[in-house]
Amino acid sequence: MEISRRDFLRLLGVTATGATVGALGAGTVFSIPEHLFQRISDGPKIESWKTSVCSLCPGGCGIRVRLIDGIPVRITGNPLHPINRGAICPLAEAGIEMLYHPKRLKNPLKRSGARGENKWQEISWEEALQTVSERLNNLFRNNRNNAFHVFSQNYNNYQNYFLEEFMFSFGSENHHVENRIAQWALPVLASQGWNRVPAYDLLNSDCILNFGADVLDTEPSPVRYNQIYGALRNPGNNRRTDIIHFGAQLSRTAAMSSQWIPTRPGTMACLALSIAYIMIRDRSYDKGFVRNSTFGFKDWTDSEGITHKGFESLVTGNYYPERVSKICGVPAEKIVKTARRFAAAEKALAFGGEQAVNSPNGFYTSWAIYCLNALKGNLDKPGGVLFPSPVFEPPVSEKSPAYDFLKRNNFEEIIGNVLAKKPEVADTILFNRFNPVFNMPARKNWHQVLQNIPFIISYTSFIDDTSRFADLVLPAPFFLEDLDLYKTVPSIEFNHLTVQQPVVDPLYNTRGLGDILILLAKQTDLNDFKWKSYEQFVKSNAESIYLSGEGSIISESTDRSWIEFLKRRGWQPFAYSTFDEFWDVLLEKGGWWNPIYPDGNTKRIFRNKSGKFEFFSQTLYDYFSNDKGRAEEEFNLAFVPHYDPPAFLQENKVFPYSLIVFPQLSNYNGTGSRSGLVQELSAIYSREFWNSWVEIDPYTAGEFGLNDGDGIALISATGRIPVRVKIVPTLMPGVLAMPLGQGHEIPGEEKIGQNPMEIVDKEIDSVSGAYSLISTRVRIEKISSELS
């Protein structure tokens, strides 16, 4: 039933009197299912609230949804939720709008035009699943299990575990999760054998060195980090926390810091090691910790009698500030001053964001940064790096390669193989809410890759840049319609679990991923895949928490100190006689948490061979043992943090400028671009609503005679995009910055703004295999047309 917008408003009782004029100007139509429509027209307008979790980004915020007669009208933060304490971010505000979005997929679709043409024919679920299971059976029978690939978004939900179990049963190792937060964990893995993201105790620290982690806008949990930064800047807390932010751009995070130190892209390893240099030369590092709990600081000799240079001599030999200053653009005095401030602080910590990792030398960069914490001796201490106890995870997480942080991020490998026409590599791909054609550098490559894949399935709520190339589209419910569990957000110092409770029945003929997989397992005869329903899986995981007796369901009366008080006396904050009772309260309150930090025991945090913090990583050494044929010097360097000058920093006459791409809270991966709300607010700083822009420093702008709003073409080796200029004093000269998230390309839909990924080069990090987003060099040309 198609209902005019005005009818709907009238039913909700919100049209003002005298709106006759308005009526003439409107006339758009949106689709709302008939049963909902009935309810709106006849309902008594009773208000109710349901808790759930926001899944528009991996931030894991607990939400409370306001319903009128069971119809969701607004998302607010869940005040009890320990992550976000009642607050949310602008993207979540757009959730309701996206739930009712007219472009939502309503039925399974079969491709009816050419690939990418966005022409479809609606089919039944039976037919859709039949098609998939036939293909899977075929692969299964021919022992080509690995030719089935799944690409998943990296949300902290349990669906990915479930999918992982399915892939296990099916026998494919190719479940790919683009998981860059994992790389916060990589240096910890290298040095400590600890394979999770550690937590940084920012709130209790006196001095924080932030190497370009734009935590207020992105990973790992924007609302939480906004709260932390807000609290750090509250003079009421009697603490003068110094936050020193390094980065090429004065981002929002940098703006909230006490100091912003402009740093050339790709050179942060060098900077971090120079700070280490000063600490070593001043002998202001934690000598006790370094002596007793580290390995590889001094020169050492291995079992074969070969002498290796230690961290100390590597650093003192190479990273003196005068030299580093020329590389990273930070004045030497500033490096010295910062290092001394860091060393002098009672509690201090250093952390690097993804952008440190987003460089071709990213892994070593983040490792170099992480080593500053060891020099400071702040591991497992308040105000330093924390290592929370393991979270409740399904057993599959232990064996799955998708959760092995050192498994190379092999997208480039896959692309290469597919382009080399090795069809045995990939036969069928399932994109599980994953949109590489939009999100990955070298997008043109993905176009080609997709043309070379025999069969593509997309599981998504909307047709996006990738699913338009699919052969079969499975409509996914929106998160407000779907049941799931959300695990602890990485980098948070306590454990928690949030229930993603469906707050409304599915509006359309969609199915949850779990239930789809169960049906597929049945039709593919996967005998060891025993789940009856996804709900059963969810509840069994919740039950393991119930049975553990740890922590507490979040509630008004359970703040951290209270729980700690009770635990010390061996009491439980709450007792439930049955799991069903527990489950009901869990749904009502929205989540569970355990704020208690495990008691200190150094063995707990050093899980590697030496049981110490390793400046020379034996874990890596073992991992790459088959590489040992390499030249000694170079080989040795591979296992210690160091600065590797990235190729893109070389003098380049053709492409004189650096391009960095930056995220915005309200539209990070482009998830929000479909929302009018997001479009009319994410550009609040640049005022280029419904558009993209490129930021440029006044000096460079002057050279080209550019004014705000003028058009330029950004040209890189990969491509060319036209975009408007915004002059800001917040960039290193010679660096251009462009926001991510706009420029979706879907036939039949208007393109809004430009996607910088169009011109981002596809450099990858040599260790992790992750894409580098900062290594693009561009030139600019003034243009007058082409811009909308």
Binding site: G18, V21, L24, G25, R687
Partner: protein
């Protein structure tokens, strides 16, 4: 006999009323097309909303308000000038007053409509009556414009009565109209006496009303605390500007009508000369006010004020500002201060320049203050839309239409006053002169000399 003869003398003034040329229909047709398009544009505006204009945030007032101030300014041509000239017994006024009064009546109606065109919810206009707040300068405007409109239509009508009676007596069609409008006028001395008294009273009343009108219009702006608006001299500044543009508009109309209706015999060089000297004086006065207004701003150097100031002098609005300065000062002064160029053609150029200049002044008052908010918002731009242009051009067409229709039914020059001039003024002037002159001259002697 004498009267009859005089009537015959002025027969030409009735020609266009009594004979309709095909040209008339063409002009009407063209005007209706233009007005029709404007009406259509306005209808669309009612349906869609003010979104069809070029207005936005923060420039929320534009063409409609500019034209409102502009048209009301022009309206000062008429009644005010005619009243002043009458009051000062300037003999040369006789062929001019009617035209001036017509301009006022028509332009006032058009100008008065503009704030309504500008309303987002014209359907709720009634709220002004049911719950109008007298504290709002907008209400002051409504009041004083209505008063001015009432006064000036009556002021146009009263001196028209004797002419209507002439038309009635000539048997001009439509008879019923003239019969009705002539109000039983037979030119008896008593009637003359009453008419003159009425005109005299109105004449005295209309001047303060007219002054008040443009004063309160300036108050719309001056009563806010916005930079560039909040000024104490805005009242007189607006009045001066209004009279200035009014005279220019009157001159243009006189030159055009003289040509179209062959009034060379009535509107002589001397009339233009006198009026243009008045225009020259107003131009100097305008300059004086403008200078005072901007000098105080510049000297005070208050940052918010200066932003608007610089926006006008060197920023985005500089082309308009300097064009205004040229149009309102340089051009008219150069042309009019020189006897050689103070000819009809020169006067026409100067007047057109002033009308354009005064329109630009309204633009420069309304837009830059809005475009430069005090807080750090991006400065606004304003580009009027097709709708606004078409309503503007439509308004001008309505003005022309008004004139054409008026001329179709009534004489553009006050016939009886001309007649009266011929019959009485020489002796009257002689009498007056005699009273001014120091030596005892004989009245008759002067009269002879005057002839």
């Amino acid at each position: 006999m004498l009267a009859k003869q005089n009537n015959d003398l002025d027969d030409g003034l009735f020609y266009s009323i009594e004979y309709t040329s095909p040209k008339f229909y063409w002009v009407m047709f063209a005007l209706f097309v233009v007005i029709g398009f404007a009406a259509y544009s306005y209808l669309m505006q009612i349906i869609i909303g003010l979104g069809v204009t070029g207005l936005a945030q923060p420039v929320s007032w534009g063409f409609y308000i500019i034209n409102f101030v502009f048209f009301i300014g022009i309206s000062h041509a008429g009644t005010l000038i005619s009243a002043i000239l009458r009051l000062s017994k300037a003999e040369w006024r006789r062929p001019i007053t009617r035209m001036a009064e017509v301009i006022t009546a028509i332009v006032l109606a058009i100008g008065g409509l503009h704030p309504i065109i500008d309303l987002g919810q014209p359907g709720r206009m009634w709220n002004l009556v049911t719950s109008g707040r007298l504290q709002s300068p907008l209400l002051w405007d409504v009041t004083s414009i209505s008063a001015y409109f009432a006064a000036s239509t009556v002021y146009l009508y009263l001196p028209l009565i004797p002419d209507i009676a002439i038309l009635r007596d000539r048997g001009t069609k439509p008879q019923w109209l003239y019969e009705f409008l002539s109000w039983g006028w037979h030119g008896t001395p008593k009637q003359h006496h009453i008419l003159e008294r009425a005109i005299n009273i109105l004449m005295v009343m209309v001047i303060p009303i007219a002054v008040s009108v443009h004063t309160v219009i300036s108050y719309i702006f001056a009563m806010t605390i916005q930079p560039g608006w909040h000024s104490t001299i805005f009242g007189p500044y607006f009045v001066v500007g209004a009279i200035f543009s009014g005279i220019a508009a009157l001159l243009i109309m006189m030159i055009v009508l003289r040509k179209v209706y062959h009034l060379e015999n009535y509107l002589k060089e001397i009339h233009f000369n006198y009026l243009s000297i008045l225009l020259l004086i107003m131009s100097l006065l305008w300059f004086y006010f403008t200078f005072s207004e901007y000098l105080t701003t510049y000297y005070g150097n208050e940052p918010d004020e200066m932003r608007v100031f610089l926006y006008k002098f060197t920023g985005g609005f500089a082309p308009y500002f300097w064009a205004m300065f040229a149009c309102n000062f340089l051009v008219p002064v150069t042309i009019l201060a020189n006897k050689k160029t103070r000819r009809i053609k020169g006067i026409l150029i100067a007047s057109i320049s002033v009308v354009i200049g005064m329109w630009l002044e309204r633009l420069i008052i309304v837009v830059p203050s809005l475009a430069n908010p005090r807080l750090e918002y991006p400065t606004g731009i304003y580009i009027p839309s097709l709708t606004e242009w078409s309503v503007f051009i439509g308004a001008i067409a309505v003005f022309i239409l008004g004139f054409v229709l008026f001329a179709k039914f009534f004489p553009l020059i006050s016939v009886w006053e001309i007649k009266e001039g011929r019959e009485k003024s020489i002796s009257e002037v002689a009498h007056r002169l005699q009273s001014y002159l120091p030596d005892n001259h004989d009245e008759l002697e002067i009269e002879q000399a005057l002839k």
